[in-house]
């Protein structure tokens, strides 16, 4: 039976999804079309991830799924049943900021702050990816092993290119990421 969009919009097609968000198991009912970003912001009240371009272009909605950075605006909440989600709100532990958060403050890595949660969520995994030996487009020779000592400013700029900052705090962001990587 074919329903019109209007008919379907009126029927309850919500799906139950359970995710561990910042360490707590959360069960919610979402429409299939609800993005993970909208579910986090509107259903769970986690407004750290920002809705900016909503097209996967700016990085402001960056969160971690099972420890990896992703864009929460470009995926559906109902696809992530059973997974581990971390937002900027879940980065601190016992009241202490994450080292990358500390370095963003130390190096003045933001002005208006709108992109900052995405920048920091990205930066945390940029350091982990480098430590895991992942090369980037800035890596001179991908056939050779990559180590965190190779994480130069050029590497950081390339790896952070999916996070835009309208205030153009880029030099300070790169400095913050570089020092957080050094202190790791």
């Amino acid at each position: 039976m074919i329903q019109t969009y209007a008919e379907r919009a009126q029927s309850d097609v919500r799906m139950e999804v359970s995710m561990t968000v910042n360490g707590s198991l959360r069960t919610l009912k979402v429409e299939p079309r609800t993005t993970l970003l909208d579910a986090l912001r509107d259903e769970l009240g986690l407004t750290g991830p920002k809705k900016s371009c909503d097209r996967g272009e700016c990085g402001a909605c960056t969160v971690h799924i099972d420890g990896r950075r992703i864009l929460s605006c470009m995926t559906l909440a109902a696809m992530h049943d059973g997974q581990l989600i971390t937002t900027i709100e879940g980065l601190e532990s016992n009241g202490s900021l994450h080292a990358v958060q500390e370095m963003f403050i130390e190096h003045d890595g933001f002005q208006c702050g709108f992109c900052t949660s995405g920048q920091i969520m990205s930066a945390v995994t940029v350091i982990e990816e480098a430590a895991a030996g992942w090369p980037s487009a800035a890596t001179e020779d991908v056939t050779k092993p990559f180590t965190i000592e190779d994480l130069s400013p050029a590497e950081i700029r390339e790896r952070m290119s999916g996070n835009l900052c309208r205030c153009s705090c880029y030099p300070n962001i790169v400095a913050a990421v570089a020092e957080a990587a050094r202190r790791r």
């Binding site: 969009y5 993005t35 996967g56 109902a78 696809m79 995994t125 487009a137 700029r157």
Partner: protein, 331 residues
């Protein structure tokens, strides 16, 4: 977004059957292209089938003979970081690393990457301007419109779009094989025959039918695999689609090219193999830039630039040369 339903198939056969019998159903894996297309109302499927949980489709296998088998659900980032991929076929790792952003590479899959649709601005325009690829028969706004980014080879009056995948250019150069399962079982499609030229049916990007599901891409062992490189030229340094790109792979004997593989991105509706140049390059010394340039030029006699992209004809030849020389330095 428009309302749709979302479900998971019980197994691969159920996924194939559902897709074959339902023209309004779409597979979703990484979703990074499909969700953008739905948000821009380019495509409005009624039902999505989440194939992320199908078993045995995410492996990255280094084959004993020196080849690779990349499961269609393997993520771009995992393939790019894989040491076997990097040492056997650096061109594949580089094509992945020069695409998208770190976040998107963690989401997007190998199968989805080669299925991604054109970035032609008219195809994706929220105002739904005439576009034969989006609405067959509506016309091509780009043919006499903004076409600086578009094709110089193989286009038709119905469509001048280019394929945006970087990985597909590397796969084309290496003559990879797409393993597809459909209603009638599994079949292998040579990569150079996977994507189509637009002709008068530009709505079809590739040769897949309803019910077809990509399970893996195989890259056979190639003597040129190790000395390979992907060079991508963009309007900005990072996080941008190619203006022009080239995948090059080369085998050298006694200082001369024994065999070369060259494919280009950003120039056609499919990755564009430079077959004439590959033949002409045989026997030439990698140090002889003039001879390399002349050999590459043999593939550009058939170039047909549009009003705004004549610059691509020269640019593409320089990009091909750079890719070839850098690949050659890896011998």
């Amino acid at each position: 977004m428009h309302p749709f339903t979302l479900s998971r198939p019980a197994d691969i056969s159920a996924a194939i059957t559902a897709h074959a019998h339902d023209a309004h159903l779409a597979f979703i894996a990484g979703g990074t292209d499909l969700i953008g297309l739905m948000k821009d109302r380019v495509t409005l499927p009624d039902r999505l089938l989440d194939i992320n949980h199908l078993p045995d489709m995410a492996q990255i296998e280094a084959l004993h003979d020196g080849g690779l088998r990349l499961g269609s659900l393997a993520r771009m980032s995992d393939v790019a970081a894989n040491l076997d991929v990097r040492s056997r076929f650096p061109v594949i790792a580089e094509s992945l690393l020069f695409a998208a952003s770190g976040q998107l590479r963690n989401m997007a899959t190998i199968g989805g990457n080669i299925m991604q649709r054109t970035r032609c601005a008219y195809f994706r325009d929220e105002d739904d301007l005439p576009c034969n690829k989006r609405r067959p028969g509506s016309g091509c706004s780009a043919r006499y419109g903004f076409n600086r980014n578009l094709a110089i080879f193989g286009w038709s009056d119905d469509c001048v779009a280019t394929n945006p995948s970087d990985l597909a250019v590397a796969f084309s150069a290496l003559d990879a094989i797409v393993l597809v399962r459909g209603l009638r079982g599994q079949r292998s499609i040579p990569f150079t025959e996977f994507h189509r030229l637009p002709g008068n049916t530009p709505e079809r990007d590739n040769v897949l039918d309803r019910g077809d599901l990509i399970v893996a891409v195989e890259v056979p062992a190639r003597i040129e695999g190790r000395a390979s490189h992907y060079f991508k030229l963009r309007d900005r340094q990072s996080y941008e689609f190619a203006l022009v790109s080239a995948a090059a792979a080369v085998a050298v004997r006694d200082g001369r090219i024994e065999s070369a593989r060259l494919a280009m991105g950003g120039v056609a509706h499919k990755p564009w193999r430079l077959k004439a140049a590959e033949s002409a390059l045989r026997g030439i010394s990698l140090d002889n830039a003039d001879a390399l340039r002349t050999a590459i030029a043999t593939s550009f006699t058939e170039a047909r630039p549009l009003a705004q992209n004549a610059f691509k004809v020269e640019l593409a030849q320089r990009v091909a040369l750079r890719a070839l020389e850098t690949a050659g330095a890896r011998v």
